[in-house]
């Protein structure tokens, strides 16, 4: 697939200072825009909704429900997301562009059915909620799961502006819907949320239908055994688990978590800091997009094209070196930018929190979470580059390491007391990133050799 589109490349070639700002600004919007929108919308709903709801419990129930919906849908569809992306990429490479849309519809059908079936036994556990609320919860679960599938396809097509537009529309409707529904308590809020997510889903499907050719409306080819890479499924599961496990542990531990609604838990001490910490990775994500998804992707493409087109060895080694250099630049730049961000947070943090009315007790946890989250961006860069090189096994190991280390270290630090909260997450990220970087470096060292020697001989 092409790079991040002409606009970003053109911006990158503009060396002036304003050009640089525009480049990273655009990158920031593209990479972080969508989820920032969602976070900010929910934040605003929380702030303004406080005035509209009959009681604050309703708002809290709503917020916890949404958090769990996001977590559950990501965990649940994680495996399929990766496998499906790979499926689409393979079809694209073979020139079968008309397979994408029908198979997406097929995937949505399958995901929808399976998710709803999974949701039903879950939602019946919510004893003190209305059946409408339960229904909406199940719907929301289904819609979110389906939305991720549609969004990854759009992202894969590099239709970033469309993604942003759909999110804007979707969360706009969410906001309005929630405002309208707030007087009806958590059911109304949830109804607004479902309306907004449906708008997001349907608008992205409409965009896709316009952009892509297709011969049939629905296809299920992605379910064929030979089209699926199960290692990717494992990676999808482990990665999402690795990222969420520390939150889950905090939610479920009796000391730190409280039962809020039905089987849903929240952690007063842990949730807010990490939520705020995730806001700080916007610069890092922008750099990721420019350095990894554009620069590195180009160098990578150039290398493999040269291999196929019969370039001499010296040229191949030069191109490989350029790829290595761009990888190094990517990591260094991410570290730099997030480092600066951390310093800014440390400086401005206390003031911001006081302005927002959040207790200063959260501050230490916020700092360590910000560090951990920065390392997560590096992990993302490393795994992306491994994916480019198609080293699925390596990513499997890395994500497995992430899950195991995050789980065990979080549990350990929990036992050690409140001063150590959050260190589990950060250290797990640090370890995994470090190991990943070392492995990546070794891979680059022998990349030319392995590209040739590892190919099987097929007679």
């Amino acid at each position: 697939m092409a790079g991040v589109g002409f606009s970003l490349k053109k911006l990158r070639d503009d060396d002036s200072y304003t050009g640089l700002i525009r480049l990273y600004g655009a990158a920031g919007i593209i990479s972080s825009g969508p989820w920032l929108l969602s976070i900010l919308t929910l934040l605003f709903i929380g702030i303004i909704g406080r005035q509209l709801v009959p009681n604050t419990v309703a708002l809290q129930r709503f917020q916890v429900s949404v958090t769990w919906l996001f977590a559950a849908s990501l965990l649940w569809t994680g495996p399929l997301q990766l496998m499906f992306t790979r499926f689409i990429a393979d079809r694209d490479y073979l020139g079968e562009h008309d397979q994408t849309l029908p198979n997406l519809h097929g995937a949505l059908a399958v995901v929808g059915a399976a998710t709803f079936a999974l949701a039903v036994p879950f939602v019946v556990q919510f004893e003190d909620s209305s059946w409408l609320f339960k229904w909406l919860l199940a719907s929301a679960f289904v819609v979110l799961s389906q939305t991720w599938m549609a969004i990854i396809v759009l992202t894969g097509l590099r239709a970033h502006m469309h993604v942003f537009g759909c999110f804007a529309l979707g969360y706009g409707v969410t906001f309005i819907g929630c405002m309208l529904g707030a007087p009806y308590g958590e059911t109304g809020l949830l109804g607004g949320f479902v309306a907004g997510q449906s708008a997001l889903l349907f608008s992205s499907l409409a965009v896709l239908a316009k952009k892509m050719p297709a011969k049939t409306p629905v296809a299920f080819r992605f379910l064929e055994r030979r089209s699926l890479f199960f290692e990717l499924g494992v990676v999808g599961l482990l990665y999402n688990l690795g990222v969420w496990i520390d939150k889950l542990i905090f939610w479920w531990s009796p000391g730190t978590g409280q039962r809020v609604l039905g089987p849903l838990y929240a952690s007063e001490v842990y949730d807010l800091p990490i939520f705020l910490a995730y806001l700080t990775i916007v610069p890092g994500m922008a750099v990721f997009l420019v350095r990894v998804e554009t620069d590195f992707a180009e160098a990578h493409h150039a290398f493999y094209a040269a291999v196929r087109n019969g370039a001499p060895l010296l040229r191949l080694e030069t191109l490989c070196q350029e790829m290595t250099d761009s990888a190094r630049r990517a990591v260094v730049d991410i570290v730099k930018i997030q480092g600066i961000t951390l310093v800014v947070c440390a400086t401005v943090g206390p003031w911001l929190l006081s302005v927002a009315g959040i207790s200063e007790l959260h501050l230490p946890l916020f700092y360590i979470d910000a560090a951990g989250v920065a390392l997560q961006v590096i992990m993302l860069a490393v795994t992306s580059m491994f994916f480019y090189l198609d080293r699925r096994r390596a990513v499997c190991w890395l994500t497995g390491m992430l899950f195991v280390s995050n789980a065990s270290l979080t549990w350990l630090t929990q036992r050690m007391g409140p001063e150590f909260y959050g260190y589990g997450f950060a250290i797990a990220m640090a370890i995994t990133s470090l190991v990943g970087l070392v492995a990546l470096s070794r891979t680059f060292q022998h990349l030319v050799r392995d590209t040739f020697m590892r190919q099987p001989v097929v007679s």
Partner: protein, 351 residues
């Protein structure tokens, strides 16, 4: 594909219309029940609505198209009200409106650029223009010494257009070094094999078209006939036939070309026929075709040398000079023609 045309067609089955009506009614009913707090009927009606939408989405043919049915059903059912709205307003119309994938259609066969068409651009044999001019290659081929250079020259001839390469290949065929001979032989054999292969394919196409006789086929027939004339001309022009086989091939080429010309007035074809007749030493017919070519838009500077050749064959030597003077501003690509032109125009000046 059958499904595409069904989607695009206007006549949807009554089943699908029924499905839509049922779905809308059921959804509204379900909504009413929900607002009145009656759970079970609301769920039931909602499920019915989902089925109805599925039916509508699948155009009534649930068995043959389970995909759209399931997908639509799913979306409507899992998302109250909004699912129905989304499916009805966005999804199914988008499905109905889909552009079919680009038709692979008929692949254009790239025929070799017959040397007859003027302009001299041998565009068809790949975009690769050999960067070595023919004259130096000839020098190399006729030289003695290390065979390696001659082998490389012969390899370069593979990419050159037939008109210039074939005479040089025949020179290489008599080389003292065996490797050069064998390589030239292989290249010549391959060219002839390709030519004859294309002729076979074209003859088969012609046969297939003879059967059908619809009006739209005429253009195709004309194209095939033109291609056959070109290929037969290539056989002669490349020196692959000699003696009375050459005569027979020229006759066949003329016949195919003439038939094609009757169906499609084509300047370049008329020009080709002119050259064929000149080679067959029939200047009268050649003139007829050349005039036709002129009236169809072929430039006079292109036709002039051919007119001159016809004049030569008819022994009208006085006419040659003025004709070649017309072709005077021919580009450098035809040095031999320039030399000839100079000879005849100089004679003109003398008399």
């Amino acid at each position: 594909m059958q499904q595409t045309s069904e989607i695009a067609g206007e006549n949807r089955s009554w089943m699908s219309a029924f499905g839509l009506v049922l779905a809308l009614a059921a959804e509204l009913g379900g909504l009413v029940c929900a607002l009145r707090g009656e759970q079970a009927p609301a769920v039931g009606l909602h499920a019915l609505s989902a089925l109805g939408f599925g039916l509508w989405a699948a155009d009534g043919k649930v068995m043959s198209r389970p995909g759209p049915f399931i997908a639509a059903c799913m979306m409507v059912f899992t998302i109250p009200v909004l699912g129905a709205l989304g499916v009805a307003l966005l999804i199914v119309p988008a499905w109905r409106d889909q552009r079919p994938a680009e038709n692979d259609g008929i692949v254009e066969i790239s025929l070799p650029h017959a040397a007859a068409v003027s302009g001299g651009s041998s565009a068809q044999e790949g975009a690769q223009q050999v960067r070595i001019a023919p004259a130096p290659i000839e020098l190399v081929l006729r030289s003695q010494g290390a065979a390696q250079k001659r082998v490389a020259s012969v390899m370069a001839l593979r990419r050159m257009d037939a008109a210039r390469a074939v005479p040089l290949l025949r020179v290489a065929l008599g080389d003292t070094h065996e490797d050069v001979r064998l390589l030239a032989y292989a290249i010549l054999e391959r060219r002839e094999k390709e030519l004859r292969g294309r002729i076979e394919v074209l003859l088969n196409d012609l046969e297939a078209l003879q059967a059908a006789s619809a009006a739209s086929e005429d253009k195709q027939r004309a194209a095939v006939l033109k291609a056959l004339a070109e290929q037969h001309w290539e056989l002669v022009h490349g020196g692959f036939v000699s003696g009375d086989v050459e005569k027979q091939t020229l006759t066949a080429a003329a016949r195919y070309g003439h038939e094609s010309l009757l169906q499609a007035q084509d300047g370049s074809l008329a020009l080709l026929l002119g050259r064929i007749q000149l080679r067959a030493c029939k200047p009268g017919s050649a003139l007829h075709y050349l005039r036709a070519a002129g009236s169809l838009g072929v430039g006079s500077s292109v036709l002039a040398p051919l007119y001159a050749e016809a004049a030569f064959l008819m022994r009208r030597f006085d006419a040659i000079g003025p004709l070649l003077a017309e072709a005077g501003n021919a580009p450098l690509a035809r040095p031999k023609l320039d030399a000839v032109a100079r000879f005849w125009t100089a004679r003109e000046d003398q008399t």
